[in-house]
């Protein structure tokens, strides 16, 4: 097995006394897309902030290609951190309306003092390859179509030559007819440039389609992770099952299995004792209220933190998904 390109080990993110991320470990393998799903306040964006260096880790370590960021020299730390870039939720809003496309694309190079003819040529070639011709360079953002603006924002992220892109809700707010355009583009760039993605989204359809593996968070912890197709078809954690079943569907035959959780998401500042999901779990037992379950990894690459995981019923999984 190849070395993971990014490793988060027992990470803790704290804002004052409030623990947003509590002992989370993640591995991002080279060339893969790891989906991170969960509801508001579960800590998925805090993980993104910690990984890109916007929020210091209160505990645990972050390693990029096996090199622990914390132990590196200041200069080395900058190099490592630059390999991870954040793709904002509304990338188009991050484009200054007063700058031309040329200025917008050269800005990240100039910030790094790397504006050389060679680097600029590389950027222009990359832009050309995804449909941003040279004739667009003198335009302003308002003269671009939505698709062109998204491409400009993406190239700005790629200008730092990252190996890891953290995409926080990249399709939120996009119409469904253009969401596919962004996802297709991300995949093409990943294959061409050898990128790895951490895809954070509440859109289960998107994650189910583009992620290779998925991690499910609840109140600051990972409750389940595994290969996407297996996890979607046979969720082992009751929360994963409820979350997936809550996804609205056009297929009326699937609606009967919906599990509507009672109650609200508890405050992450004051999580329940024992298993954090026990206050809403339809299958709760006495033990769950007192003893926190550990995240246990099975041999099939799936991990679940539950005392009473759902038993998998063997079903035939279509080849293309299992592949």
């Amino acid at each position: 097995m190849t070395r993971p390109v990014l490793t988060l080990d027992n990470a803790v993110v704290r804002y004052d006394r409030f623990t947003a991320v509590d002992n989370v470990s993640l591995e991002l393998r080279r060339g893969e897309t790891l989906g991170l799903i969960g509801e508001s306040g579960c800590g998925k964006s805090s993980i993104a902030r910690a990984i890109v260096g916007l929020q210091p880790l209160a505990g645990g370590t972050l390693a990029v290609e096996g090199e622990t960021v914390k132990d590196a020299s200041r200069q080395r730390r900058l190099v490592l951190q630059r390999r991870i870039q954040l793709l904002f939720q509304d990338p188009v809003a991050s484009l200054s309306p007063r700058l031309t496309v040329r200025a917008l694309l050269s800005e990240p190079l100039k910030i790094r003092n790397a504006f050389t003819a060679e680097n600029w040529g590389r950027i222009v070639a990359l832009a050309e390859s995804i449909g941003l011709g040279e004739q667009l360079l003198s335009r302003y953002p308002h003269q671009l179509s939505g698709g062109q603006a998204r491409r400009v924002a993406l190239i700005r992220v790629l200008a730092a030559e990252p190996s890891i892109i953290v995409a926080d809700e990249p399709t939120a707010g996009l119409d469904i007819s253009v969401q596919g355009d962004l996802l297709n583009l991300l995949r093409a760039l990943k294959d061409r440039l050898g990128l790895s993605y951490l895809l954070i989204s509440h859109n289960l359809n998107v994650v189910g389609r583009v992620a290779d593996r998925v991690a499910v968070m609840y109140l600051g912890q990972i409750v389940e992770s595994g290969p996407t197709a297996a996890l979607f078809r046979e969720p082992a954690h009751p929360y994963t099952q409820a979350l997936l079943s809550a996804n609205l569907t056009l297929d009326p035959s699937r609606r009967h299995d919906r599990i509507v959780l009672s109650g609200e998401l508890p405050s992450p500042a004051n999580p329940p004792t024992g298993c954090r999901f026990h206050s809403r779990c339809p299958l709760v037992q006495v033990r769950c209220a007192t003893e926190a379950p550990a995240l246990r990894t099975g041999e099939d690459g799936r991990a679940v933190a539950c005392h009473f995981p759902l038993a998998a019923t063997p079903t035939v999984i279509p080849q293309a998904i299992a592949g």
Partner: protein
């Protein structure tokens, strides 16, 4: 068959600019039967919210609204502001997208739930209105409703706030309930709860519903029939199951193809579906079919206005293509 609760024929909404006029709605027909739930689906810029706002008289002052005919509950209406104002908050109520901004942070939930009823029940006592509100709050699934009446909006979570807003809309016993993206601001498990509340409501009351959303999943859950809008026009309408399982208009088909079903087998190397191109500028609408510039099946005829076709399955669509 009794007359429909709401009939709108040929609704036009436009805004006059300095040099040009933007046509936001161009000949929209909507009919809602009594007790029926109709979904308006479309992408940004399709004009779906404008239809709802026109019904409520909430459009900007410079909006020019015209219809060939509009009738609500057996009465003809011009949709002029004076007339819609009389319906708003009594016969027509609305659930807005963002439950935080729909509630006044300065007053308790109870006060707001009482005040909303004053126009409908001007002679009833505060005590009576308060009790009625508490019952309704419990009805939409707010636990400990009697005590929660004395709380302020910030003391409620997003899902609970949306229930308060739903209770508020129901308290006036509207004949028509308009829900504009009622679950868009909510998390998935909370969305499922609110959908359940709305579904229960549909079974218990005879209130008609107009659900405005970009989410075809939500429309499929809540509605009997669907109206698909594109760039200010209706391209197809009919029973939800018919339209979603066998779409006829190329836009409906393209839109449904963009929906991702994570449970369906797929080829990971294959691109996701998109609809290339952009929505036409409302100030420069094409003369012919509005979808022609993005349509995969475009041909010479599409430069002219497409006919309105009735299919046998209670569905209608506007396209030059014959039903196959």
């Amino acid at each position: 068959m009794t007359a429909a609760l709401l009939t709108i024929e040929d609704l036009h909404v436009s805004y006059r600019g300095r040099n040009s006029t933007a046509h936001i709605l161009d000949g929209v027909d909507v009919t809602i039967g009594r007790g029926q739930s109709v979904g308006l689906v479309g992408e940004s810029g399709s004009g779906k919210s404008t239809v709802a706002f026109a019904l409520l008289g909430l459009l900007a002052d410079n909006a020019e609204v015209s219809t060939r005919r509009a009738a609500f509950d057996g009465h003809e209406t011009s949709l002029r502001v004076e007339e819609t104002r009389a319906l708003r908050g009594t016969d027509i109520a609305m659930i807005f997208q963002d439950p935080m901004t729909a509630l006044n942070p300065m007053f308790t939930i109870g006060t707001q739930l009482v005040d909303i009823q004053r126009r409908r029940f001007p002679r009833e006592s505060r005590h009576w209105l308060w009790a009625r509100a508490a019952t309704m709050l419990a009805d939409v699934g707010v636990p400990d409703a009697a005590a929660r009446m004395n709380r302020y909006p910030h003391e409620f979570s997003g899902g609970m706030r949306q229930r308060v807003v739903i209770a508020m809309a129901l308290l006036v016993e509207p004949k028509l309930l308009i829900a504009d993206e009622p679950t868009t601001a909510l998390d998935a498990t909370i969305e499922a709860q609110v959908v359940e509340v709305l579904q229960r409501l549909r079974q218990r009351t005879s209130t008609s519903m107009l659900v405005v959303s970009h989410s075809m999943g939500l429309i499929a859950e809540l509605c009997d029939s669907v109206v698909v809008m594109y760039a200010g026009t209706v391209v197809e309408h009919g029973p939800v199951q018919v339209v979603f399982s066998r779409p006829r208009h190329p836009y409906t088909r393209a839109l449904l193809a963009c929906e991702i079903d994570p449970y369906q087998a797929f080829d990971p190397s294959q691109d996701l579906a998109t609809i290339p191109g952009t929505v036409p500028d409302p100030a420069r609408r094409p003369r012919g079919c509005i979808f022609a510039s993005r349509c995969p099946d475009r041909h010479d005829r599409c430069g002219e206005r497409p006919p309105h076709r009735q299919a046998g399955d209670a569905r209608a669509y506007s396209c030059w293509q014959e039903a196959s």
